[in-house]
Each structure stands twice: as structure tokens, then as C-alpha cells.
């Protein structure tokens, strides 16, 4: 046993080799805090700020919407059917006299819920499969790669329709279908990023430190590709919302009378020719804003998590 294992017996090395003042290079000051950095990103790109505001609004609508809206989204009132936007009904009413504003706000929770669940699912499945493929290579890579190729070979929306039709017409199956069609995106991004880091110095060093392969993948490689994956999540979130609404639009998944943007647009579409434009317009706008918000947010999140932009 050498002396170093007995704590307390060690004295610092003499100045001539250990002193930092002997280093000519000076350490950079610590990076600004995440909050200060977020402020900077928003100030530099106001559109990102707008997206953050929209995001907060959408989340608030999803969380508190049902308890805040002025009318019961399911209560029909035939006396007040097909009324244009007014002070009483901001977005007007539909053919059954239901308040469209209330329905649009209440629908946020369902649409966002489907998107978040499917993105979380595909993040875990696609992310892990991709990281494993990129890190281990060989057969793992081939299998994951071919699965991704197979999915990509289908027109994705048609594939999603097929999956929901085959598995059954439920919200859970919409989540699963949306996750499956996003799988190649996640698997490929994760694979490429993990592959680059496979022979990186810190991975070799982790091997020397006695980390098992599984621990290197989960503890060293995965955390380093998280920023890119988070950006990917934000970008696909908008796509997932669109996909869920699209499936509902053609009558799969969510069923009426449950408020959901896609169904509302589908129901309202028939009335546009007769001049009742508001029934389809407002849920459509909500859908557009949500997708728009998540896409813009992706750019902002990328700026936020990219360490290069921090200094």
C-alpha cells in the first residue's frame, strides 16, 4: 500500500509543480445561470419569447381550462345554435348551441395530453434503441436501423391510420400510433449522436474507470445527447398534436361529443359553405398556434441548451 491511501498523511506537492499560478492560462469564469441565459436567449430572439409565452398559455389552458371556462363544453342549447362570435359567446356556438370558446379551451388538455404521452413514449423507446444502436453497432444497429427503415417506408399518416384501425379506436391507440410513426426520427438522431461519442476520450476513460457498458451508455453517453433529444422532443411535439388532430378529423380515436380540435374542425367544415365559418376556424387556429408554438420553441430550446451559445 502506498502512502496515498491513508487520508491525512498527504501534503500538497511543493510549489514548483503544483501551483496553479504556474499555469499561464487562466480559467474561464463560470457560465451564467440558466435563468440569465434564458433571459439572454429571449432578448436576442423575441420570437422565442413569444413562443415561450404561448407555451405557458397552452399549458395553463390544459391545466386550469376546464375549471375556468364560462360554459359546459358538452351542454347543448338548441335555442342558441349557430350563433356568430359575440360578447356572450366569444367564438360563437356550434350546430348544437355549444360554446366554441369553452370547447376549444377544454380540448387543450386532451390534445396536449396525447402529444405529451406519445412523445414521452417515443423518447424512451426511440431514444434508447437509437443510443444502443449507435453505441454498440453491429447487430443492434442493423435491427434498429431496419425497423426504422420499415416504418419510414410507409406514408406515415396512413400508417398511423392503419395502426389505430387495427388496434382499436381509442385514445391510447392514438398515442401508440403517434409514437410509432415518430420512432425513426428519434432512433436516428440518437444513433448518430451516440455513434459520434462511441470512441470519445471520455467514454474510453469511463471504461478505464471500470464502468460497465450499460452504465457507460446510460450514465455517460445518454446525458450528453439529452440536449439534442430535448430539441427533438419540442419539434416533434407540434407534429404529434397535428397527427392526433388529423386522426380525429377523419373519425379515428377521439369520438364526439368530446371536445377535440380535430373533431371540431371536421364538424365545422360542413358549415363553412353555409357561412358559419367560426365553427371550424377557431379550433383550427388553436391547432395552428399550438404547432407553431412548439416549432418555435424547438429553436429556442436549442439555443438554450447548446453550451456553445452560453459563452
Amino acid at each position: 500500500m502506498s502512502q496515498i491511501t491513508e487520508p491525512g498523511t498527504l501534503q500538497p506537492l511543493p510549489l514548483h509543480s503544483g501551483d496553479v499560478t504556474a499555469d499561464t492560462d487562466i480559467a474561464r469564469p463560470p457560465s451564467p445561470s440558466l435563468l440569465a441565459h434564458a433571459r439572454y436567449v429571449v432578448a436576442e430572439n423575441p420570437v422565442t419569447g413569444l413562443a415561450f409565452v404561448l407555451f405557458v398559455l397552452i399549458v395553463a389552458a390544459a391545466l386550469f381550462g376546464p375549471s375556468l371556462v364560462p360554459y359546459d363544453p358538452l351542454a347543448s342549447n338548441t335555442a342558441a345554435a349557430l350563433q356568430p362570435p359575440s360578447a356572450a359567446h366569444w367564438f360563437g356556438t356550434d350546430q348544437l348551441g355549444r360554446d366554441i370558446f369553452s370547447r376549444v379551451v377544454v380540448a387543450t388538455r386532451l390534445d396536449l395530453g396525447i402529444a405529451v404521452a406519445s412523445v414521452a413514449l417515443v423518447f424512451v423507446l426511440g431514444g434508447l434503441a437509437g443510443v444502443a444502436a449507435g453505441y454498440f453497432g453491429g447487430w443492434t444497429d442493423r435491427i434498429v436501423g431496419r425497423i426504422a427503415d420499415t416504418i419510414m417506408a410507409f406514408p406515415l399518416f396512413v400508417l398511423a391510420m392503419g395502426i389505430v384501425a387495427a388496434l382499436g379506436n381509442t385514445v391510447t391507440n392514438i398515442v401508440i400510433a403517434t409514437a410509432i410513426i415518430n420512432f425513426p426520427l428519434y432512433a436516428r438522431v440518437a444513433r448518430a449522436e451516440a455513434n459520434v461519442r462511441r470512441e470519445a476520450g471520455f467514454v474510453q476513460a469511463a471504461r478505464l474507470s471500470g464502468n460497465s457498458e450499460a452504465r457507460i451508455v446510460l450514465g455517460h453517453v445518454l446525458p450528453n445527447i439529452m440536449p439534442i433529444m430535448v430539441v427533438q422532443m419540442s419539434l416533434t411535439m407540434g407534429y404529434a398534436i397535428l397527427n392526433a388532430a388529423g386522426l380525429s378529423f377523419i373519425g379515428l380515436g377521439v369520438r364526439p361529443p368530446q371536445p377535440e380540435w380535430g373533431i371540431m374542425v371536421a364538424e365545422g367544415a360542413a358549415f363553412i359553405v353555409s357561412g358559419e365559418w367560426w365553427i371550424a376556424l377557431f379550433p383550427g387556429l388553436a391547432l395552428m398556434l399550438a404547432v407553431f408554438c412548439f416549432n418555435l420553441l424547438g429553436d429556442g430550446v436549442r439555443d438554450l441548451v447548446d453550451p456553445q451559445r452560453r459563452t
Binding site: 500500500m1 502506498s2 502512502q3 496515498i4 491511501t5 487520508p7 498527504l10 500538497p12 506537492l13 511543493p14 510549489l15 514548483h16 509543480s17 503544483g18 501551483d19 496553479v20 504556474a22 499555469d23 499561464t24 492560462d25 487562466i26 480559467a27 474561464r28 469564469p29 463560470p30 457560465s31 439572454y40 470519445a200 476520450g201 471520455f202 474510453q204 476513460a205 469511463a206 471504461r207 478505464l208 474507470s209 471500470g210 464502468n211 460497465s212 457498458e213 452504465r215 455517460h220 446525458p223 450528453n224 453550451p307 459563452t311
Partner: protein, 565 residues
């Protein structure tokens, strides 16, 4: 000299706009280059030497701007001239060679075509005779078989060859000024000599002026007429190269010179005056115990998978002998490392030294041969399973690039603790923390920096974290894979001394992998010179470096730029 200088930089200040406000990268630099003169700009990273040359070429990136001062190139004010006028100057009147030749060439175009582009762009050739002129230009930079190489892609050429092509492109339009920004960094020492000799020969023959930007004082002194030393954006000393070595005036120049490894000095001499105790640490004599590491007939083969060979195999179903014979990266080498000994493994890129060290650290499986560590053959244990074994504790490594080898998302403390957490005895949180602090103190890393992440640390500090991590488990053998190659020369001096002190205190053995014979001279008891997977020469350091037996060792030694002392 009465004629006006070709390039006259007066009071140049370059500023960069950053988030933290304006940063002055170059401050009030005066510099002139006369016709036919070679000027060296020497400095460590961050000294502003590259920024100065970018300002001359007007290729500063968007955040940078020339705040004050003027750059006059043969009567034209480059700083204020219109972009179109500067574009005319670039390439035709002044051109530049960059550090990484492979990155400077378009990877998917034949080098001949890239050369033609420049010739045609600057009206040096018509499309009809461009090809002949391009081949001639390749011949001028001494590329063998220029007509054949004309069709080569950059990836088919070696680093030195690529740099020759870049030089050919740079010189294609007979410029008056050539700026070479670290032209040989990353090249082998013999290639470095060939490339530098070529640059000097061509510029002299054409009466051109040139600026050589380098961190290597020896290189600048050997090839330049005058040397300009820069530190933190300012010129601290300008002198003819002979004078600067004989009588450096500025303290920083003296410090740089001291820190440059060279023959006839000891490790302690590299440190600034006053910092080192008098006298060198005496080289410890090896006790005649059984060697710690014995390598016997170690071989690593890689299958050759040429596209041509594969196609031939597909279509004719028979393999040509040369396709069948695998490539031997390491070709049957044997050596030993004694207890407490430092052995240098020297060679140029591709000689198999890194492959050898990877096999010894058990990150790579050997094809055949034995690796006896403390009497036990560890070569037979598959690399995959080795990570969790107790032997893992005893063989550790310090990596070449301190930035790349630290996990960007681990703090310094977490990085140092990683081997202890994985392989060490179970420690309480407090014991672990005190152990990490102890290690940090040992390598001279202030404990206040332990919470920082790699990007918040300087190069020297990152190197210390890497060393502390390697020492965390009290290894018996540490492989040092060019541990200072990515560091500035003054930081290198400190880190080398630290490594030597650590060995004296902890009594482990080092296998020091390097291409730099000057560094090996300082640290190693014995040297092994490798070439093309084989050992060319081995022996005690003084013997090998002073009386080399092999022709290749002599060639390596001769290629080291010697300052005119």
C-alpha cells in the same frame, strides 16, 4: 532599408463583440514584413497571433472588427479597402496555409481540380491549359507522380501530402506574401521538416515574403529571419531570430524559451526561474525486481477491406493474396517495463504506438502475443469484461486531449470520483469527498475548482483533472498517451514536472507514448522507437538519443528543429 515594407501593420487593435462585452484580441500591434523576409509570429494560445493574420487577410469572423490602426499591403490600406479590392488581393497577392490541411481541401473533389479552380479564378490559366499547369504546380511542391496525384482525392493522401497540395494552391498565383498559420501542427516531425523546408525553399526562390505563425519557438527560430513574440494580444518582443535566442529581452520570451524542451536540460529547467528548487531530481535506479509488465510478440491485425478487393471477391470469388493478408498495425513487438520505471514509446503517426497502448490498457484485444502484467497474462482476458475486474484498478491511463477525455456533463469532482465509485472500496459520501480533495491537492488543482464543469476549466486544469482521475485508484502502471500534446508549452512544462513528482512520490511505472523526442528525453529512463508496427531501437534514453543505432532514430532526431544557439 529605405524601400517601404511589403506589409506594414501599425497600431492594430482588433476587437470582438461578445456577450460579456468587447474583448480586445489584438492590441496596438506594430509589425512590418519586408520583401523577401520570413517573419515568425510566436505565442501561446490566446496570444492573438492568428487573429492578427486574419485581420491582414480581412477574414475575421463577423463578431470581430479592426478598431484602430492600419494594415498597409504594398501601398493598399487593407483595413479600409472595398471588399472587391481585398478579394483581388487574396490569393493573388497574399495567400494563406491553414493548420489542418485536410480540412482546407474539399473532400469530394480531386486535388488537381481544386488547383485548377484557383488558377482559372485568378486568370493564371485558361480551361485548356489548366490541367498542365496544375500538374506543374504539383511537381513544384515535390509531389511524386504529379500526373497521377492530380486525380487523387484528399482522403487518399497523407497529411503531409495534403499540406503540399495546399501549399501548391497557395502559391499557384505567385503571391507576394504567404501566411502560414501553424502549417505543421499535427504533422509528424519528419514531415514537418519536409514541409517547412519546402515552404522556405519555394518562398526564397520566388523572392516572396512570408509570415510563419507558430507556438514552437524552435521552429520559428530555425526558419525565420525575424521573430515576433506575442502575449495576450500584444507584441512583447521583436528581434532577429539569432538574437532572440542569444539574448531574449522580455521576461515572457525567456519564460517561453525556458519551457521549450530541448537537449541538455532537465525537467526542472523548464519551469520559470525561482519556481524550481536547485538541481534536478536524480533519476532513480531501478531495483532488479521482476518487471511489472512484459509484452511478448504482441500482434494486432486488422482485416483489409478494400472496395476493389471486395468487388473482386464478389465477382470472381477468389481473393488476391494482398487482399487476403491482413494489415498488421502492431507486428510482433516485445518489451518490458520495470517497477518504478518510465519507458518512452516513440514513433510517428501510424507506427502502432497508440494501438499498443490500447492493448496494454485492455481497451483493445490483441490478435496474438502475451501481455504479462505482474506475472499474469492479461492479454487473454477479453477487453469487454476487463472493465469490472480488479486488475483494472492497477492499469490506468492519462489521455491525449484533456477536453475530449472529460465527460462534459460531469463536474471535476465527479470525474475524479468516477473510478473510485466504480472500482474502489465503498466509501461514505464524506470520505469520498475528502479523497477527491486529497487527489486534487496532489495534482495541484485548487479544491475550489472541483465543482466546475470541463468547459469552465483551462487546458492545464483539465489535464490535472485527467491525471487525478488516473491516480485515483493507486495504479501500478499508468499509460501516458501524449498527455501534453494539446497544451501550451509553458503548461506542458508544469504538467511534465507534476507527472515526474507524482511518480517519485507514488512509485508507479509510466509508459509514456509520444512523438516528441525532446519531451521523452526529459521524462523517460528507457526509450522504445517504433516504426510501422515494429520496434526499431530500444535502450536507455541517453544512449538512444545521443548515439542512435538505427537510421530511423537518427532521421527522427535530425528532423527536430534546432534553434540557432
Amino acid at each position: 532599408m529605405t524601400a517601404p515594407p511589403l506589409l506594414d501593420i501599425a497600431g492594430l487593435t482588433v476587437e470582438f463583440m461578445t456577450r460579456r462585452g468587447t474583448v480586445t484580441a489584438v492590441e496596438k500591434v506594430d509589425l512590418e514584413v519586408r520583401k523577401g523576409e520570413t517573419v515568425g509570429i510566436v505565442g501561446e494560445s490566446g496570444s492573438g497571433k492568428s487573429v492578427t493574420s486574419y485581420a491582414v487577410m480581412r477574414i475575421l469572423d463577423r463578431a470581430g472588427r479592426i478598431a484602430t490602426g492600419s494594415i498597409t499591403f504594398s501601398g493598399i490600406d487593407v483595413g479600409r479597402a472595398a471588399e472587391s479590392a481585398v478579394r483581388e488581393l487574396r490569393g493573388r497577392e497574399m495567400s494563406m496555409i491553414f493548420q489542418n490541411p485536410r480540412a482546407a481541401l474539399n473532400p469530394i473533389r480531386k486535388v488537381g481540380h481544386q488547383l485548377e479552380d484557383v488558377l482559372i479564378e485568378h486568370a493564371q490559366a485558361s480551361p485548356r491549359d489548366a490541367r498542365a499547369k496544375a500538374i506543374e504546380a504539383l511537381a513544384q511542391v515535390k509531389i511524386a507522380n504529379p500526373a497521377e496525384r492530380y486525380h487523387a482525392y484528399p482522403f487518399e493522401l497523407s497529411g503531409g501530402m495534403c499540406q503540399r497540395v495546399v501549399i501548391a494552391i497557395a502559391l499557384a498565383c505567385q503571391p507576394q506574401l504567404l501566411i502560414a498559420d501553424e502549417p505543421t501542427t499535427g504533422l509528424d516531425v519528419t514531415t514537418q521538416k519536409a514541409v517547412m523546408d519546402l515552404v522556405v525553399e519555394l518562398t526564397r526562390a520566388r523572392g516572396m515574403s512570408s509570415i510563419l505563425i507558430t507556438h514552437d519557438l524552435g521552429l520559428a527560430a530555425a526558419y525565420c529571419d525575424r521573430v515576433v513574440v506575442m502575449q495576450q494580444g500584444k507584441v512583447v518582443e521583436t528581434a532577429p531570430s539569432a538574437a532572440i535566442f542569444e539574448a531574449p529581452r522580455h521576461a515572457y520570451t525567456r519564460k517561453l524559451m525556458r519551457a521549450t524542451p530541448r537537449s541538455g536540460v532537465t525537467l526542472r529547467d523548464l519551469l520559470p526561474q525561482g519556481a524550481a528548487p536547485a538541481g534536478a531530481t536524480p533519476r532513480r535506479q531501478r531495483e532488479p525486481a521482476a518487471p511489472l509488465l512484459v509484452v511478448e510478440n504482441l500482434v494486432k491485425e486488422y482485416p483489409r477491406q478494400g472496395v476493389v478487393g471486395k468487388l473482386r471477391h464478389l465477382f470472381t470469388n477468389k481473393l488476391e493474396p494482398e487482399d487476403e493478408k491482413p494489415f498488421r498495425a502492431v507486428d510482433g513487438i516485445s518489451f518490458e517495463v520495470g517497477r518504478g520505471e518510465t519507458v518512452g514509446l516513440v514513433g510517428e503517426s501510424g507506427c502502432g504506438k497508440s494501438t499498443t497502448s490500447m492493448m496494454i490498457t485492455r481497451l483493445l484485444d490483441p490478435t496474438s502475443g502475451r501481455i504479462l502484467f505482474d506475472g499474469e497474462d492479461i492479454g487473454t482476458i477479453p477487453a469487454k469484461g476487463f472493465a469490472r475486474l480488479q486488475q483494472r484498478r492497477r492499469i490506468q491511463m492519462v489521455f491525449q486531449d484533456p477536453t475530449d477525455s472529460l465527460n462534459p456533463r460531469f463536474s471535476a469532482a465527479r470525474a475524479i470520483a468516477d473510478p473510485i465509485l466504480q472500482l474502489g472500496d465503498k466509501l461514505s459520501k464524506r470520505a469520498l469527498q475528502s479523497r477527491v480533495e486529497e487527489l486534487a491537492t496532489l495534482v495541484g488543482l485548487p479544491t475550489a475548482l472541483l465543482d466546475r464543469f470541463p468547459h469552465q476549466l483551462s487546458g492545464g486544469q483539465k489535464a490535472r483533472v485527467g491525471i487525478a482521475r488516473a491516480m485515483a485508484l493507486d495504479p501500478d502502471l499508468v499509460i501516458l498517451d501524449e498527455p501534453t500534446a494539446a497544451l501550451d508549452v509553458s503548461v506542458q512544462a508544469v504538467v511534465l514536472n507534476l507527472l515526474d513528482d507524482l511518480k517519485a512520490r507514488l512509485g508507479m511505472s509510466y509508459l509514456f507514448v509520444s512523438h516528441d523526442l525532446n519531451v521523452v528525453r526529459l521524462l523517460c529512463d528507457r526509450v522504445i522507437v517504433m516504426r510501422q508496427g515494429r520496434i526499431v531501437e530500444t535502450g536507455r534514453t541517453e544512449r538512444v538519443l545521443e548515439a542512435p543505432a538505427a537510421a530511423y532514430t537518427r532521421e527522427l532526431l535530425a528532423a527536430i528543429p534546432h534553434p540557432p544557439v
